[in-house]
Each structure stands twice: as structure tokens, then as C-alpha cells.
Assembly symmetry: C2
């Protein structure tokens, strides 16, 4: 071990914990959210009931479904009139034409149609199945939820409300569950951020041996969303998670920074 490393080892546990200890705590008992609910206020109350203190520098990760419900981004499929194209696609895919219609309305581009899969780019630039239009955890047999219209704005509203009520400075990430190219299984991604930069930029920094780092930009907002999902669990009703101890890059960022511009993307 070189001297720097030995010095590092001699730091006290308390010192160390400032650097390398992150805790992720889920809020249980978050009430069902309806249109018009004040999500920031719901979170602050739930944190109190959970005996979790929201502190400066915490990251609050909120599941998209909660945000969409509060913003009234719920559609009753019985009210939807499918277009001729939606009818054709739905027939081909053996799917509900009204559901397909809602997906098409949320899409800016169809990336891939195959079997019964409809992978689209959403108006926000996110590539995902069904434009994020989803039936699960929505009340009512014929209802689907849409992604928030402006997830960064949603994150900002929630952040400002939490900061006002809890008198702290935090970051907020709105997360959703997407599939990936090349790899099986879904993970959670950041679709909205506020109060932090969504990436950590290592450009110009060196590794332990003085080489310039090969990987220059880490998508930390996505990593925070993925970490939070470990506590949320799909079916467990834990839609809000507080992450403590991670020093995120401050400043106002947008989850759109995580979207690879089409001209730089080798894969579309």
C-alpha cells in the first residue's frame, strides 16, 4: 500500500462514513395519490410517519406512477377513439386498439414494431416500450397512466415543496422502469431530475496511476433510480425512497441530458 492509501485507512470511521456510506430508505404507507394531490407535501408527511428525517443533500426518488396520478395523467380507454392506423397495428399485434392509440399519441417516433412489442421514442426523447403507457398500479380496469408531460418540471415542483416544508435543500429524481437493448430484465431509469446534475463528469480527471480516465461521464441519476428500485420493489407499494450520503453534483440539470442525441447514437 502506498502512503496515500495508508493515510486513507487511518481516517476514523466517522470520517470514512462521510465518503463511502450511502443509505436508501423507502417510505411505507404513502397514501394512494389522486389528481391534484400535493406530492411534495405527501412525501414530507410520509417521511415523518416513517420516522425518516429529510436532510440537506438527500435525494428523493419518486416513482413515475405517483407523479402521473397527481398530475391527472390517467386515461380511461373507454373514452379513446382509435385511429385507422392504431386499429391496423392493434390487429397485427393482437392488442387493444385504444391502448395502441394512446401509445401513438405519446410517441414522436416508432423505433421498432415486432410481434406484440411496440418500442417508441416518447415526446421527451425516451426510448421505451409502449411510450410508458402502462396499466399496472392504476385503479380501474380500463385506465392507463401516461408519463408526466414534463418530468423535470414535476421533479422541480416536488423538490420546491419538500424544501419549503422540511426547510432543507434536496434533489428529486422521478424514476420509471424500462427495458434495455442487449440485456434482459428491466431496471429503473431517471426520467426527471431537479436540484442536481444527472451526470457526473470525470473529463480531465486521472485514475490512480495518472492515466486520463477512459469513462468520462457517469449517468448517476440513472444509478440513483436503479438503487432506489431495490427498495421500491415492483409490487410492494413503496413509491418514494430517500437516498442519504451520496454527494451529487449540485446545480439544476435535466433528465433530458441522459438522452443520447440520435446523431450520436450508434444504435438507431
Amino acid at each position: 500500500m502506498d502512503t496515500t492509501r495508508n493515510n486513507r485507512m487511518s481516517k476514523t470511521l466517522a470520517d470514512r462514513r462521510e465518503y463511502v456510506l450511502i443509505t436508501i430508505v423507502g417510505l411505507e404507507g404513502v397514501p394512494l395519490i389522486s389528481k391534484g394531490d400535493d406530492v411534495g407535501s405527501v412525501i414530507v408527511r410520509a417521511a415523518e410517519k416513517n420516522q425518516v428525517t429529510i436532510e440537506n443533500g438527500d435525494i428523493v426518488v419518486v416513482a413515475q406512477k405517483v407523479v402521473s396520478k397527481a398530475e391527472g395523467r390517467i386515461v380511461n380507454l373507454l373514452d379513446v377513439e382509435p385511429s385507422a392506423f392504431a386499429e391496423t397495428v392493434a390487429k397485427e399485434m393482437n392488442r387493444d386498439p385504444r391502448h395502441v392509440e394512446v401509445i401513438l399519441r405519446e410517441a414522436s417516433r416508432i423505433v421498432k414494431m415486432k410481434d406484440n412489442h411496440l418500442i417508441v421514442e416518447t415526446k421527451h426523447g425516451y426510448v421505451c416500450a409502449n411510450a410508458g403507457v402502462d396499466r399496472s398500479n392504476v385503479l380501474g380496469e380500463h385506465h392507463v397512466s401516461l408519463l408526466p408531460d414534463n418530468p423535470d418540471g414535476s421533479a422541480e415542483r416536488i423538490r420546491r415543496r419538500i424544501e419549503e416544508l422540511a426547510e432543507v435543500s434536496v434533489a428529486v429524481v422521478v424514476s420509471d422502469t424500462f427495458g434495455r437493448a442487449w440485456r434482459l430484465g428491466h431496471v429503473d431509469f431517471a426520467i426527471g431530475v431537479s436540484g442536481m446534475k444527472p451526470v457526473k463528469d470525470y473529463r480531465g480527471q486521472s485514475d490512480m496511476f495518472g492515466h486520463t480516465l477512459h469513462v468520462t461521464v457517469m449517468a448517476i441519476a440513472d444509478e440513483l433510480a436503479a438503487a432506489a428500485e431495490l427498495v421500491m420493489n415492483k409490487s410492494d407499494g413503496v413509491p418514494v425512497v430517500i437516498i442519504k450520503g451520496y454527494k451529487y453534483p449540485c446545480g439544476e440539470g435535466s433528465a433530458k441530458e441522459l438522452v443520447r442525441p440520435i446523431e450520436e447514437d450508434l444504435f438507431r
Copy 2:
């Protein structure tokens, strides 16, 4: 709130923490690893020095670089004789032909060549830049590290050694940093696992309203790797992270389960 939710709220904090509190602690002062080093033993000693007790059910996330070094998966480019094809590609890309040669040897298929990007499928099935052949955090100007030959096997050896020395039952994830399609920035992924299933399968389970869950398989090993990276940080020399409090699906799994078979992949 319905009754189930109220019941959940009435659980004590201690109960609750069993379900929704995860801690992620990085081990500092892990010594530089050389070929032949016993990584499991290094981890157990580092945990002791860090005053971190490795407990039953912990997940130990180990950065690929550490594993590759211990397994001697380091190549001196001065010893490499580039093929004619490597010379051609390197010239086209303005890259070191010996580096390109090593990448081609590790690849089973080239997914995309554009500008100076070389995205390949590795022999393990992973799609990533440069087949994971990487210069950063490797001693010596002309040295590169390769991915472990069998990362699941590496994870298993490390797991067995930790279990033997610490007398506990744990899971091990070997992680590496890759780029993604569609999204900017890198995140950490699981390239090897042992002692756990890499996915959590929700098939047949219902959401809060009794609908069958739309998302059925979560890639939890990738989420664990991403969560660990938040503590590792690229340049900080924290190559081993212990995750506590996450109930992973037990059983022996393989990170290859996270590779989407080419015939099911809509994107290649």
C-alpha cells in the same frame, strides 16, 4: 389508506427497516491487486480494517478491474502482434493497432464500427465498447486489462473464500462500467454473479389493484452494480462495496441470464 396500508404503517421502525432500508458501504484502503492475489481474503481483511462486519445475506460487489488483475488478465501491448485486419481498423479509427488486436481477440462479433468507436459482443455475450479492454487503473503505460475469462466463476471463487473466512453466506457481483444504447453516460452492470439469482421474477404476481404486473423481470444484479458504483466512484479507489439489507433471490445464478438472446433482441 386501506387496512393493509394502515397495518403496514403500524409496524415498528425496526420491523420496517428489515424491509425498506439498504446500506451501501465502500471499503477503503483495498491494496493494489497483483496476479495470483486471493481477492476473497483481501476483501475480508479490508472489511475488518474498515470496521465493516460482513453478514449473512450481504452482497459484495467487486469491480472487474480487481478481478482481472488477480487473474492475470493484463496484456502488455508491446507483446502484441496486430493482424492485418487490426491494422486496417486501427488506421481507419486512428487508434493503436495493438489495442485493436486485443479487442478483436476478446470479441465474438462486431456490433458497430463508427468513427473511433468499436462496439463488440464479447465472448461472454456482453455488448460493450472495446470488448471491455481498458487502460484505466492499470499500472504501466502499455498495459490493458481484459474482462475475466469467466466472471461467474470469478464471483463464485471470491464468494466461497469470503464465506470460508468470514463464516457467512453472501452473494457476490462482479461489476463493470458500460455505455448504453439510447442514453448518454455510463453505468455499472453485473458481469458475474454467484450466490444469487441476477433477476427478480414477478411473473404471476399482482399489483396493488390486482392487475397482473406488466413488468415481469427486474435485472436486480444490474441495479445492485449501479447502486455500488455510487460509492465506488470512478477515480476514488474504492473497488469493493458491501450492500446490506437487500433480500435477493437465493440460488445459484449466472450473469449470462442478463444477456438478451440475439433472436429476442429487437435492437440488433
